[in-house]
């Protein structure tokens, strides 16, 4: 039996000795450029994290753990940011709760229900939503939507006063510019991303799996849950995460419609504040510890987004491992 040596297909023919194998110049340059680009992205990310943390250091050192109290009072040099963290969480959750069923539903509609001829125009229209600039959403929200929806909020609030759970979330005080309005506009802004990514992922499900499910007598819904979802869950979760990241960081639209009131309240129709909005509103006149506090809010936002991404990756990996059975 002749021994078979592994030969690098990129190596020039005729030299099998490892010390004599040299890749062609083009390959080497490409490898360096690709590696360099990847490292550059990593370096930029690390630099951003390090420099913003340096700028925010005065805030962390002067407040310590008090940054997690609800006491934002620049006039008295107190910068407790709990209200903004709460606001970011609430608006992001509202946005996800509204956008995800809507977007995944549209994606399933486009891939499973609608004939191909009609899916192209619908995709086009949904993608147009993504083209609308954030500041236009904000302006429309505060000038048109908020005044109109104010009366709806007020009537809902008066209807549910006293009711145990509903009153807790939807009671007074109400305002056109509120957590709920911001969450709603964020939901509309993130749906195009979640829809198009989910659609792409769902479209990669092999037809043979779907037809197999139908052949076994599954209804359309059973086919979706049995054949489509296992294949595409990783991608859909990834799409939802991307949407969540955008919802947490969306600045101008949130700054204009959230109501700018640093309070922690369960009432979703009340005005609130979130991290990107307070940075946008108050950075122009900030100096010293105030500025460090706003930069620190940026660092916190960065950290939260990373934590969510890592957690979600873990969930996706665990699901995929379970599916593979290993």
């Amino acid at each position: 039996m002749s021994t078979v040596t592994q030969v690098d297909p990129a190596a020039p023919a005729g030299s099998t000795h490892p010390l004599e194998q040299r890749r062609p110049l083009g390959d080497r340059v490409f490898a360096i450029v690709a590696l360099g680009s990847g490292l550059l992205v990593l370096v930029i990310l690390v630099l951003i994290a390090v420099t913003t943390s340096q700028q925010a250091a005065p805030w962390f050192s002067s407040e310590g753990w008090k940054i997690f109290t609800n006491n934002w009072n620049p006039a008295a040099n107190q910068f407790g940011a709990l209200a903004f963290i709460y606001g970011t969480a609430v608006t992001a959750i509202i946005a996800i709760v509204i956008a995800v069923p809507l977007s995944v539903g549209i994606a399933l509609l486009l891939t499973e229900v609608v004939p191909y001829r009609w899916s192209r125009p619908i995709v086009y229209v949904v993608d147009l939503l993504a083209v609308v600039p954030s500041v236009v959403w904000g302006l429309w929200g505060i000038l048109v939507f908020a005044p109109w929806v104010q009366h709806i909020y007020a009537s809902i609030a008066s209807a549910v006063t006293g009711v145990p759970v509903l009153g807790f979330f939807f009671g007074t005080p109400t305002s056109g510019a509120s957590f709920f309005t911001a969450g709603l506009i964020l939901a509309v802004m993130i749906s195009p991303i979640v829809t198009s990514l989910s659609r792409e992922v769902i479209a990669t499900v092999p037809a043979i799996d779907k037809e197999g499910a139908y052949a076994l007598g599954a209804t359309r819904w059973e086919m979706i849950t049995g054949a489509v979802w296992p294949h595409s869950q990783g991608g859909v979760v990834g799409a939802v995460l991307l949407g969540l990241g955008r919802a947490m960081g969306e600045t101008i639209a949130a700054a204009l419609v959230i109501g700018s009131s640093a309070t922690i309240t369960s009432r979703l129709f009340a005005p609130g504040y979130n991290m990107p909005a307070v940075i946008a509103n108050q950075f122009g006149e900030a100096s010293g510890t105030f500025r460090a506090a706003l930069m620190g809010l940026g660092v916190l936002l960065f950290v939260f987004t990373i934590i969510i991404n890592v957690l979600a990756r873990g969930i996706v990996e665990r699901n995929a491992r379970k599916k593979r059975g290993g």
Binding site: N73, P74, S175, G259, S260, N281, Q282, G284, E285
Partner: protein, 369 residues
Amino acid sequence: MHLRRRQRFMAAGVAAAATALSLAACSSSSTTSAPSGGSTSSPAAGSSSSAAALSGTLNGSGSTFQTVYQQTAISSFKSVQPNMTVNYGSGGSGKGRTDLASGVVNFAGSDSPIPSAETANFKGKTVLYFPVFLGPITVSYNLSGVTGLKLDATTLAEIFSGKITTWNNAAIAALNSGVKLPSTPITLAVRSDSSGTTQNFSLYLETAAKADWALGSSSTIKWPSTARAGNGNPGVAQIIKSTPGAIGYVDYSDAKASGLTYASIKNSSGAFVAPSTTAASAAGNGITIAPDLTFHAVDSSEPTAYPITYQSWVLVYEMQPNANDAAMLKAYIGYLIGSGQSLLTSLGYAPLPSSLQQKAQAQLSMITS
């Protein structure tokens, strides 16, 4: 054969379109007529700038309070020095001071003197303050049937701290005998963004109503949680206009533009004065002016002054990197504090009182290179 003819037509069409477009471009550029024969002598009264034509670019940024005046002055200054270009990009007083400290701009607009936390950024270089105008902050309200409301500092402090919650409160009624005040709840309209207007309004309450005002003075205040916040002066004006029972603080020019009703405020001499440009100019007289021309125009002791008046400065370095920069700055700032002052009243700002104007003009010669 057909193809070749169609191609020829297309080529001809494209050539025709290209020539048409280039002709249009050429002709539009040639219609910018040469500026009226160089008026090189600056008519600024008392300005120490030379009469020679200056050329170059000046960049400034900062206070949004100054934006309208700066832009109006820049376009009229074009007829004084046609070869100079001046740019003013607002961004807020804090941004202006930061830009000046990092050398990005030649001058900065600021509604307050450099705070102690920022002095280190200027690396020991001397900064000159040139006051450019004064402006009233109105206390505007929306109460149907009530005009000519009178308020004083203590009542204002209690309203804006959330202690007075309805319009027919005894304290308000005591100042307005004979006026029927409804029992409508008071809705506060405040700024959502940081601003010099908030800083000076809160400074007034802190100065004139020390015992009743606990929220401090800063460009961002922790208002009562029921306050409605709007973006910029127009945002606050919109809240006041659309909410019956609302009261808030709005710049005079924006309040006039939105057609709001404003209150007369009791000044330190005991007179109830309505906001106006004359009353604001008067406020420049009864105050202490530091040698570097910094001051606070709130709560002036002048009898005819409007008490909630604030000011804005143009900040420049005393030492400029070259002679041309120094000359350009002297010319432009000289215009702002000199003949440009005549533009102010129609814009809703108050010109500097003559004593302050003279001090500012005397300081112009300190800009050197």
